[in-house]
């Protein structure tokens, strides 16, 4: 091994170690510092269990909605270009550029009982702000472009020739969509889904504002962890962090597989 290579390796290992591995290891260590039985009872903390359950419920609604929206918008932008769709193509990135705290404030202004949409919903007897629905809204908002940013470039690269060929072979639009279009973008969409999943599970700022952060009611796992640290219950916080970290590792693994498959598909592309 050349000397420059050794130096480069050492720098990278130190850098990643100091930023990632050591802090992660610290969380691990802190979560088990009181032994297995304490860890076990901490896992059954009612506020945290409720937070995990709420996070799961948000994921179950927000992720599929985002996939539907992401795939639909991608098809619209690529296949039916118009001034409106081109404008959307730009606007859709806003959630990536905006700080989540601003997203939260925007949603609160719009959906609070006295807000613009909120007053209409209130008239209908529906409460959005500081409920499950507000958390779902915020989660969708912050992860809006994550699916379409994966699907749009692939759709552009694919073109329409496969679909048009299928049409000349007698296939109806629905069949073409399911057997050609969807099959072609499946791995890009899957990659977008895992990114969305990670974002929805990990979102803090926007959810903090719109949920009201009420323990046992509107607290997601990230909010629960934050609340535990704020109230000097840091051991419970570390256990929550460990759980969240494990979920992230799992999601990362899925992302890795999806991206690998996607890149192989891209590599396989021709002409």
């Amino acid at each position: 091994m050349r000397r420059s290579s050794v130096v480069l390796r050492s720098v990278v290992i130190l850098y990643v170690g100091a930023l990632l591995a050591l802090p992660l290891g610290f969380i691990f260590q802190q979560a088990f510092v009181k032994g297995w039985s304490q860890f076990w009872s901490a896992l059954r903390d009612p506020a945290m269990d409720q937070a995990i359950w709420l996070t799961a419920k948000v994921v179950v609604l927000a992720v599929p909605l985002n996939v539907l929206f992401g795939v639909g918008v991608s098809l619209w932008i690529v296949r039916h270009p118009s001034k409106l769709s081109r404008a959307l193509d730009v606007v859709i990135d806003v959630p990536l550029a905006l700080s989540p705290i601003i997203v939260g404030l925007m949603l609160e202004l719009a959906y609070a009982q006295t807000g613009w949409f909120g007053s209409t919903f209130a008239y209908l007897g529906l409460k959005i702000m500081f409920t499950y629905w507000a958390i779902v809204l915020a989660s969708i908002f912050v992860s809006l472009p994550l699916v379409s940013r994966q699907v749009i470039p692939l759709l552009r690269e694919l073109g329409e020739h496969q679909e048009q060929t299928a049409a000349t072979l007698g296939a109806k639009p629905g069949r073409i969509f399911f057997t050609i279009t969807l099959r072609s973008i499946a791995w890009a969409a899957a990659y977008g889904v895992t990114l969305t999943l990670a974002r929805v599970i990990g979102e803090y700022g926007a959810v903090l504002i719109v949920s009201g952060n009420i323990a046992l009611l509107t607290q997601t796992l990230t909010l629960n962890i934050g609340a535990n640290f704020d109230s000097f219950n840091s051991y419970q916080g570390f256990v929550g962090s460990l759980l969240l970290g494990l979920i992230s590792v799992l999601v990362l693994g899925v992302i890795g597989i999806a991206r690998h498959r996607l890149e192989r598909k891209r590599y396989d592309s021709f002409v």
Partner: protein, 327 residues
């Protein structure tokens, strides 16, 4: 099946791509749509297939108006320039796609696919995926897939453009014999005049959305209707303001009693030699065979005579009824 279209007009982003063109393609013929890029030939092909809507005009198959029929009802086999293989399907499943759409039972489907793969000589690759095939193999796969639905008409968009020269020549003659074997009316788009001359029964020359001329390849070559056709179909050299095919001018010794010109340059093009001459109004050139060049040994600065063997006859002075070159 006869394919006819009339008054086909299409604009794209404010540009007129097809300007009210009409033609009839006879049953069993292989017609080449020849033209430079941007002449509208691919757009015309897609309009015939029903893949692109037209602004005005009509398309008929066997005399039946199909202008408003979607592509899936036209029974037209279409092959794109990039072959558009279904990337996620094996070769077998690519070819079987149209049969599945028609709900052909599994056993029958399998037999038909095997037969088609044999026809395009890809039996050994049935379970491979498109990315594992060469360009020429993908091309043949696209053909088999299109033929699977037993189409009445076959449309090929620049079928050889993405292939290297050798595969191209092979596939060209193979497609020609396959077309005659299956006996299917075929329209092929190309920008390569040599390809069109070699493969087709009839050439339709398009330029800026209009048909410049249509007819048998040899007739169109010998009797171009317009300057565009003359220069697009083959090399043109001018002498005294008149256009000639290169073989119609002969370089002779200066003492043979014909007009003489000064040699400007002698260019070796493989077996042939091109002698560029200084003409009064334009630069003229004459093509010589290797042997002729050796015999005359022209050098820059010397003067040589040019004998005209025949003037390029244009359709303008041929009888009007014979524009297509009667068979």
């Amino acid at each position: 099946m006869t394919v006819s279209y009339s008054g086909v007009t299409k604009s794209y982003r404010g540009r007129l791509v097809l300007d009210g063109i009409s033609d009839v393609v006879n049953e069993g013929d292989l017609t080449a749509l020849l033209g430079p890029s941007g002449s509208g030939k691919s757009t015309l092909l897609k309009i015939i297939a029903g893949l692109t809507p037209l602004d005005s005009g009509r398309v008929s198959l066997a005399g039946k108006d199909v202008t408003n029929e979607p592509a899936r009802n036209r029974r037209i086999g279409f092959c794109f320039q990039d072959y558009a293989p279904f990337r996620h399907l094996s070769l077998r499943d690519n070819v079987a796609y149209g049969l599945k759409v028609q709900h052909v039972p599994r056993a029958k489907r399998r037999a038909q696919v095997d037969e088609l793969l044999a026809l395009v000589r890809l039996e050994a690759y049935a379970d491979q995926f498109p990315h594992q095939l060469s360009g020429g193999q993908r091309q043949r796969m696209a053909l088999a897939r299109a033929l699977a639905i037993k189409p009445d008409v076959l449309l090929l968009d620049e079928p050889f453009a993405a292939l290297d020269a050798q595969v191209r020549a092979e596939l060209r003659s193979w497609i020609r014999s396959l077309q005659k074997e299956v006996g299917i009316t075929t329209i092929l788009v190309t920008h390569d005049q040599a390809e069109a001359m070699e493969i087709s029964d009839r050439i339709v020359i398009l330029n800026e959305g209009r048909i410049e001329q249509a007819g048998r390849p040899s007739f169109v070559y010998d009797h171009p209707a317009t300057d565009f056709v003359a220069s697009f179909l083959g090399p043109i050299t001018t002498l005294g303001g008149i256009a000639y095919r290169p073989h119609e001018l002969e370089l002779v010794a200066p003492d043979e009693g014909v007009e003489t010109y000064e040699v400007r340059d002698v260019v070796r093009l493989g077996f042939e030699v091109r002698v560029v001459l200084e003409d009064a109004d334009a630069t003229t050139w004459v093509q010589l065979s290797h042997d002729q060049a050796k015999q005359l040994n022209p050098r820059a600065g010397q003067r040589y005579g040019v004998r005209v063997r025949a003037k390029v006859p244009t359709v303008k002075d041929a009888p009007a009824a014979d524009h297509e070159g009667a068979k």
